[in-house]
């Protein structure tokens, strides 16, 4: 279970987390605030690729990271549905999306 500290981060989520300058705790607090249910240790394991998140948890983490991207005024969001198929838009009158 112990990851090699010198190994570069392998998950898209972990790379994005480092990119937006959030600590693992800060990301967990944001994920939790958006309705995420996993414990901090589980989220850390998701980030390190030691544990596979459910599609739902993965998407909530992606959303938390992308809200942080928006706060920073950047437009290089983490792709949605990574490994879990495309995320479709709600069927009830939403405006066209910025990204599919």
């Amino acid at each position: 279970m112990i990851a090699n500290a010198s190994r570069p981060p392998e998950s898209t989520l972990e790379r994005a987390r480092i990119d937006v300058g959030l600590s693992q705790n800060e990301l967990w607090v944001r994920y939790f605030g958006l309705g995420g249910m996993a414990m901090p240790i589980e989220v850390e394991a998701f980030l390190l690729g030691l544990l596979a998140p459910s599609a739902h948890d993965h998407e909530v983490l992606v959303h938390a990271l992308n809200e942080r991207f928006s706060e920073l005024g950047r437009n290089h969001p983490v792709p949605h549905g990574d490994g879990h198929g495309p995320t479709t838009l709600p069927p009830w009158g939403a405006q066209p999306p910025d990204e599919p």
């Binding site: 500290a5 600590s23 705790n25 967990w28 939790f32 605030g33 901090p40 850390e44 838009l89 999306p97």
Partner: protein
């Protein structure tokens, strides 16, 4: 930030809720200050720290019973060097109790204990006097400028310890605010999920997915999106741009 393979180490909800005050540590540090004061200031026969606790002065550390009794007399009588120093934030010294005229009731009590001179140095936290470091002696004229400088140095150390406790309490307050805003956000999202579940007959996860999609499509935070859904679902007529 925690490294790989380590538990997350700060600012998580569990740790914030598990916080316990550092009072025991601060009290031990203040006791160290008064013992150091008595040991290093020649002719000092007792040292104490008085602090305002619940709007009243109280002795939180004392090197012996003599100085503790002197403090108690001052609190009871409402006068004396310690009371004056803590109230005014300035150093108060009496070189000879026998000729002291400012506090007649205190002079009588101190004389009964055999105290002949007293110096009280204010302790200030964030520029506000919160108490005093007190030294008493059975010798008259025991405390002059060098002793006053040493007392001021020790009082500033006592203040630093209290400031550290104060800032820790403030950081707990900041964590509490974070917890509150995080829980309010979750609450709105859960409410909005419930509305979609009831209205559209979808699962909770699907409702969350729809909220995320709407949040992305409108470039609005998920919490704001959820709040908007809740607002438009409430019976009052909506008075702004709707979320649907």
């Amino acid at each position: 930030m925690s490294g790989p393979g380590k538990l997350p180490e700060a600012a998580t909800l569990g740790q914030a809720l598990g916080y316990r005050g550092a009072d025991e540590l601060v009290d031990a540090a203040l006791l160290f200050v008064v013992l150091l004061a008595e040991a290093t200031i020649e002719l000092a026969d007792g040292a104490s720290v008085s602090l305002v606790v619940n709007d009243r002065l109280a002795t939180v550390a004392a090197s012996n019973d003599l100085v503790r009794a002197m403090d108690a007399d001052q609190y009871r009588l409402g006068e004396g060097p310690c009371v004056s120093a803590a109230a005014s934030g300035t150093l108060v010294r009496t070189d000879s109790i026998a000729t002291e005229t400012r506090w007649p009731a205190f002079v009588a009590a101190a004389s009964a204990h055999g105290i002949s001179s007293v110096i009280s140095t204010p302790i200030a936290v964030l520029d506000r006097p919160v108490g005093a470091l007190n030294l008493c002696s059975r010798t008259a004229w025991a405390f002059d400028a060098p002793q006053a400088r040493l007392a001021a140095l020790l009082a500033s150390h006592a203040a630093a310890m209290l400031t550290a406790r104060d800032s820790e309490e403030r950081s707990v307050a900041a964590i509490s605010r974070t917890i509150q805003s995080v829980l309010i956000g979750r609450h709105s999202i859960a409410l909005a999920q419930g509305i979609l579940v009831a209205r559209d007959g979808v699962t909770a996860d699907e409702a969350h997915r729809r909220l995320r999609g709407l949040s992305r499509a409108t470039n609005t935070g998920l919490t704001r999106t959820a709040e908007e859904i809740v607002r438009t679902a409430e019976p009052e007529p909506p008075d702004g741009p709707g979320a649907r």
